[in-house]
């Protein structure tokens, strides 16, 4: 369920306005390479303007803001996934093999014998561990 935004705190306004800056920045980079018309300076100057417009008239900018946020969330999710997949490959997997080399395996995969473990008692309630 998506409800229309009703809260317009300064922070929200800022976020809405600021979300317009990265596309302008991309245009600026593209203009330096000559792919789009206009000078990089003009795009640079446009940045505070779009920020201000976004903050003053968030209603008009919001559809774009929402689209960009979705894009950002999607891209961010992908990147984080790949990042942690990488960590798994370079940190967890080698460490796991190293541990197995010295005869350590943190989970008990054996199939025979009792699986009862004496309880160590409850620790302090104050500790999150």
């Amino acid at each position: 369920m998506s409800r229309p935004e009703t809260i317009r705190s300064l922070r929200d306004r800022f976020a809405i306005g600021a979300s317009l800056i990265p596309p302008v920045a991309l245009l600026m980079i593209a203009s330096r390479a000559g792919w789009v018309p206009g000078s990089p300076r003009a795009y640079l100057a446009a940045m505070p303007v779009v920020l201000g417009l976004g903050m003053l008239f968030p209603i008009f900018v919001e559809p774009w803001h929402r689209r960009f946020s979705r894009m950002r969330a999607w891209l961010g999710g992908r990147l984080v996934f790949l990042l942690f997949l990488g960590v798994y490959g370079v940190a967890v997997v080698p460490m796991a093999f190293l541990m197995r080399l010295v005869g350590q395996r943190p989970i008990d995969l054996s199939r025979s014998g009792s699986s009862w473990v004496r309880s160590k008692g409850f620790g302090s309630l104050r500790d999150p561990f």
Partner: protein, 608 residues
């Protein structure tokens, strides 16, 4: 007064519970308020509802207790990956960012959600199974008891045995991940095409339609049950870190094909697997129960953890196990752990950071019938109905009951919303859909037309406690609908030719066909005047008119929807399904008189 707030969540079924000087004042599942089934988000609405019910703010709290040790659980997660690598990379890349993003720093999370919390208000942490054990023992009627908790996994433990005595719980022994009955049952749930952590109930409902001919295979290859009650899973068949299902290729080859997708038809194979895993689970649980008896020597048993919601197994534990008395926490799943965490903090010894409070067990139990949620005033109910353009009559309680009973006798389906909302997965007569159990087509009608769910799913009867023995072979009471018992001999009707598979559904097996499962058993709710006076009065009324002290009682919701909470939820559900009559608070509504034919629903439908 000292108020202690308990919180569970961020994994599945978030909830909050509030104690006032040790008395349970309120307990609410987040899903009932957020309208998202099994909602796992931080339970902000549930917390607020608990505080509102007690008329306090977070500033009045003496302690907050969370139902898990996040750092211990995080480290267990890492160790499991280290033990499972090089498999599990994808699961790692999905799970770990989630952990780092807000499941580790629970103190910070709780403080930011409750800004009014006093700076010196301690935030406490129980282990997952300590919370379950506390939720099973402290509200129970027993001064001393054996405590058995069984679920998927907490920190390391998946199964624990403890001894409860007075206000103390002494943990004795445990079985650790990956050896887990909950995990095993969930693996079969997913394999048969149902959703993990909620579809287990459907698998159990499906079991009586199948034959148990996979039991030996399962016991030889997938799970070994030992003499001492412990068990081990064979991880060559299971993949506890897989994302969409918990079984692997080898399992699929062994059990006749890939996992069933939710939209594919149920085959005989699935029915047989459901039956087989149910049989294995019952055997394993009976072994655990015997062990708990040996270790404690107690005559009483308290049960909690998600597996304790398997009411078929619970019935066998009561009939065949070594314990004389059994008490099961009605919110046995993770929601109940919010209550357990608060109780563990309240009775926990001072040197552990608890309040060290003594405990006096109550003769019935301390759960208040399970009615621990919010209740709307008649004025609020009428205001909601008015806003929705509903057409209603406001009636005196006796007249309302009279009208509802007349409707039930006429074969109508009645939505019944009265008093405080239930805490726990079952509707116990405060947020229920009711029907006449003597009608043979009522089960199919209520399943298909009212609840829009699979026709095989059985309903439960609510029976006047004092007449339960005439209808069901049940020793003792079952106020929380957590026990399955056979239909009494006098009520049975023999079946000439047993049909096959799901066709068995259509055969009449007792004088109460709509609530009798194909194996002649019933999931009973006994209703007594102390715990549940309003519902008791309704049943009395129905009995006076018909001689039958039984009603069909099913939760007030449709497929994919959490049980209704407010009058507004109830009205929307009433309009959008084929419920004939709605009784909410003092208001009586008939379908034919409503102006709406449909209304936008107020919940996020969760697929099976």
């Amino acid at each position: 007064m000292h108020y202690v707030l308990g919180i569970s969540g961020l994994y599945h079924d978030s909830a909050a519970a509030l104690l006032g000087d040790g008395r349970i004042l309120a307990a609410v599942q987040e899903e009932r308020l957020s309208r998202r089934k099994n909602d796992a988000r931080f339970p902000e609405r549930a917390i607020q509802s608990c505080l509102d019910q007690a008329g306090i703010t977070a500033g009045d709290l003496a302690a907050v207790a969370f139902y898990e040790k996040p750092i211990l659980k995080f480290s267990r997660t890492l160790e499991v990956f280290l033990g499972w690598a090089p498999r599990g990379g994808r699961a790692f890349a999905r799970a770990i960012p989630d952990w780092l993003g807000g499941r580790l720093d629970l103190r910070g999370r709780i403080r930011s959600a409750l800004p009014k919390l006093r700076v010196d208000c301690p935030i406490l942490f129980t282990t997952h199974h300590e919370a379950h054990a506390a939720s099973a023992f402290f509200p129970s009627p027993f001064a001393e008891a054996a405590i058995l908790t069984v679920d998927g996994v907490g920190e390391w433990a998946t199964t624990t045995i403890a001894r409860g005595s007075g206000a103390t719980i002494e943990p004795l022994e445990e079985i650790q991940f990956p050896h887990s009955l909950g995990l095993l049952y969930s693996a079969f749930t997913a394999y048969c095409g149902f959703r993990v952590n909620s579809g287990e109930y459907k698998l159990m409902g499906l079991a009586p339609y199948g034959d148990p001919h996979w039991v030996e295979t399962l016991l030889e290859e997938v799970v070994s049950l030992h003499e001492d009650g412990s068990f081990r899973l064979n991880l060559e068949y299971l993949d506890p870190l897989a994302e969409d299902h918990l079984t692997n290729e080898r399992f699929h080859d062994r059990f006749g094909g890939p996992p069933r997708r939710p939209d594919e038809p149920l085959e005989k194979r699935h029915l047989d697997l459901a039956r087989s895993i149910q049989v294995v689970t019952e055997r394993a649980l009976l072994g655990l129960v015997r062990r708990a008896h040996e270790q404690t020597g107690s005559a009483h048993l308290c049960l909690a953890g998600g597996v304790a919601l398997n009411c078929v197994a619970n019935g066998r534990i009561l009939r065949e196990g070594p314990f004389q008395k059994l008490w099961i926490q009605p919110a046995a799943g993770d929601a109940g752990a919010a209550l357990g965490a608060a109780l563990a903090a309240w009775h926990g010894p001072l040197d552990r950071g608890g309040f060290g409070a003594p405990r006096i067990p109550r003769a019935s139990d301390a759960m208040g019938g399970g009615f621990l949620g919010p209740e709307e005033t008649p004025e609020a109910v009428e205001a909601s109905l008015k806003r929705l353009d509903a057409v209603w009559e406001r009636l005196a309680p006796e007249v309302l009951q009279e009208r509802v009973v007349e409707a039930l006798i006429a074969g109508k389906v009645v939505g019944w919303v009265q008093g405080r909302m239930e805490f726990g997965p079952r509707a116990l007569g405060h947020r229920s859909i009711l029907g006449d159990p003597r009608s043979p087509d009522m089960q199919s009608r209520m399943n298909l037309k009212v609840k829009f769910r699979e026709s095989f799913r059985p309903f439960a009867p609510a029976v006047l406690a004092e007449r339960s023995a005439e209808f069901f072979e049940l020793t003792g009471e079952s106020p929380y609908m957590l026990l399955v018992a056979p239909v009494a001999g006098a009520q049975r009707i023999p079946v000439a030719h047993e049909a096959e598979g799901l066709d068995r559904l259509k055969q009449v097996r007792s004088t109460l066909p709509a609530v009798t499962h194909v194996d002649g058993s019933v999931r009973v709710q006994t209703v007594d005047p102390d715990r549940n006076p309003q519902f008791y009065a309704l049943l009395k009324h129905f009995e006076a008119k018909t001689g039958c002290p039984v009603l069909i009682n099913t939760s007030f919701n449709v497929r994919g929807e959490p049980v209704v909470g407010s009058a507004e939820d109830a009205y929307r559900c009433f309009i959008n399904s084929q419920i004939d009559v709605l009784a909410v608070g003092p208001c009586y509504l008939e379908r034919e008189r409503q102006l709406h034919a449909a209304l936008p629903r107020s919940f996020e439908a969760i697929p099976d």
